[in-house]
C-alpha cells in the first residue's frame, strides 16, 4: 500500500495555504508533518481525508480498495473529539465503531486506552486527556489502513503518549500507514519528515 500526493495545492477562505506539495508514504511507514502554526498541517490532513476540497494536484492510494475513497479508508483524528457529552463513554465508542466499522472489539479498545473502569460515565465528565484517549480507542476498535492524526499527543500524559506510540507501532507493523501533524517527536522511531513553510 502506498499513498502518493503530488503537486497538491489548498485554498481556504480565499487564501492559498500551500501549493506544489508532494509526498509519498509506503505501507508500514509514518510521515510526520512539521512546521509553524498556520502553515497548513491540519489542512493537509483534512485534504487527504477529503474534508477540504483539493484545488490542484493529485492524490492516489495504491493497493487500497478501489471501491472506496481515501477518506473512507482513513481514520481522521482532528482537534475535535466528536464525542457527545450526554452519551456514556461506552455508547460514544460503540456508536462510532458500528457506524464507521462493524462494531467489534470496543471493550478491548476501551481497556487498551485504560477507560474500561469509567465506561458508564457520561462523556461530559471526562478530562481533555481522557477524551483524547477515547478518540484513540476509536482508531483501535475499527481497522482502517490509513491514520491521519492531527497533533495526537496533545493533552496526553507521558504514560498515554507512550501507549499511543505503542499503538502506532503496532499499526505500522501491520502494514498500515500514518500521516501525523505535530510540533515535535510523537514517539515514532523512524518517521519520514515533511516540513512545511520552508526551513525551520
Amino acid at each position: 500500500m502506498r499513498l502518493l500526493g503530488s503537486d497538491l495545492a489548498c485554498f481556504r477562505g480565499g487564501r492559498q495555504v500551500f501549493s506544489d506539495l508532494s509526498f509519498t508514504v509506503e505501507g508500514g511507514e509514518a510521515l510526520l508533518v512539521l512546521g509553524p502554526n498556520g502553515v497548513g498541517k491540519s489542512s493537509l490532513l483534512r485534504l487527504v481525508a477529503g474534508l477540504v476540497p483539493r484545488f490542484a494536484g493529485a492524490l492516489r492510494l495504491e493497493g487500497g480498495d478501489p471501491e472506496l475513497t481515501i477518506g473512507e479508508q482513513a481514520h481522521y483524528l482532528g482537534h475535535q473529539d466528536a464525542l457527545k457529552p450526554s452519551l456514556t463513554v461506552d455508547e460514544n465508542l460503540v456508536f462510532w465503531s458500528r457506524y464507521l466499522g462493524s462494531g467489534q472489539e470496543t471493550q478491548a479498545a476501551l481497556a487498551a486506552v485504560g477507560l474500561e473502569t469509567i465506561a458508564q460515565l457520561p462523556a461530559a465528565y471526562l478530562s481533555a486527556g481522557q477524551r483524547r484517549r477515547l478518540s484513540i480507542a476509536r482508531l483501535i476498535a475499527i481497522r482502517r489502513p490509513i491514520w491521519l492524526l492531527d497533533e495526537p499527543t496533545s493533552a496526553l500524559d507521558a504514560a498515554a503518549q507512550a501507549h499511543l506510540a505503542g499503538c502506532m507501532g503496532q499499526h505500522l507493523a501491520g502494514g498500515g500507514l500514518i500521516v501525523a501533524a505535530a510540533h515535535g517527536p510523537i514517539g515514532l522511531a523512524a518517521a519520514k519528515e515533511l516540513r512545511l513553510g520552508g526551513a525551520p
Binding site: L83, K84, E91
Partner: protein, 222 residues
C-alpha cells in the same frame, strides 16, 4: 446493528436525554397555541374557525426551533467530519438523521394536537382532521428544514438564517395542510383533494430534501 440503525438509535438517545431538545419543540407549540385564545378574546366561534390555521402555524414555528439540532451540533463537535469518512451514502445518513429528528420533534406535535384542539374549541372531528394533516405534514417540514440546516451548517449560530431560508419553502405545505383541515370541517371541497396534494408534497420533500441536503453538505465542507 447496521451503521444506519446505530445512527438512528444514537440520534434518538441524544434527543431524549438532558439537553437534547425533544421536549423544547412541543412545549413551544403548547405555549404559542395557548397564547392565541388570550390574544383573540373569548369568541368561541372565531377560535373554532381559525383553530386549524393556528395549530399549523404553531407546528411550523415549533419545527423550526429545533432545526439547529439536526446537523449544526454534529458540525460543531467534529462528528460531521467522521460522518463524511463513513462507508455509508451521505444521502442515507441525512435521511436517517431527519427521520430520527422527526420522531423526536415532529411526532410529539401530532400527539399534542388533540389537547390543544380543546383549547381552541375545535370539534373532535376537526381535531382529528388537523392531527391527520400534521401527521403527514410534519415530515415534510422536517425534510424541507433539513435543506436549510445543511446549507447553514458551516455558519456558526446559523439558526436565524435557517428560519429565513426555510419558511418560504414551507408555504405550499402550510396552504394544503390548512386547506385539508378546513375542507374536513366546513367543506365544500372534499377532504381527500387537498390531503392528497399534501401527501404528495410530503413525499416530494423527502426525496428532494435528502438529495439537496447531502449535496449541500458535500459543498459546505471546509
Amino acid at each position: 446493528m447496521s451503521p444506519l440503525a446505530a445512527l438512528f438509535v444514537r440520534d434518538f438517545r441524544l434527543a431524549v436525554r438532558v439537553g437534547g431538545g425533544a421536549l423544547i419543540g412541543v412545549l413551544f407549540f403548547l405555549i404559542v397555541v395557548t397564547l392565541v385564545p388570550f390574544a383573540m378574546g373569548p369568541d368561541l366561534a372565531l377560535l373554532a374557525r381559525v383553530g386549524p390555521a393556528i395549530l399549523w402555524i404553531g407546528a411550523l414555528l415549533a419545527s423550526l426551533l429545533t432545526l439547529d439540532r439536526l446537523l449544526a451540533i454534529d458540525h460543531e463537535d467534529g462528528s460531521l467530519d467522521l460522518i463524511l469518512t463513513a462507508r455509508v451514502a451521505l444521502e442515507l445518513t441525512v435521511a436517517v438523521k431527519a427521520s430520527a429528528h422527526w420522531l423526536t420533534t415532529g411526532l410529539p406535535l401530532v400527539i399534542a394536537t388533540p389537547l390543544l384542539g380543546l383549547l381552541l374549541n375545535l370539534e373532535p372531528k376537526a381535531t382529528a382532521a388537523v392531527a391527520l394533516t400534521l401527521l403527514v405534514g410534519t415530515p415534510a417540514l422536517t425534510f424541507i428544514g433539513l435543506i436549510g440546516a445543511a446549507i447553514t451548517v458551516a455558519l456558526r449560530r446559523g439558526g436565524l438564517l435557517v428560519a429565513v431560508l426555510v419558511l418560504p419553502l414551507t408555504i405550499p405545505v402550510l396552504i394544503f395542510g390548512v386547506a385539508a383541515s378546513n375542507a374536513a370541517i366546513v367543506g365544500p371541497v372534499r377532504f381527500g383533494t387537498p390531503f392528497s396534494i399534501l401527501c404528495g408534497l410530503a413525499l416530494m420533500s423527502m426525496v428532494v430534501g435528502t438529495f439537496a441536503a447531502a449535496a449541500a453538505l458535500r459543498h459546505a465542507i471546509d
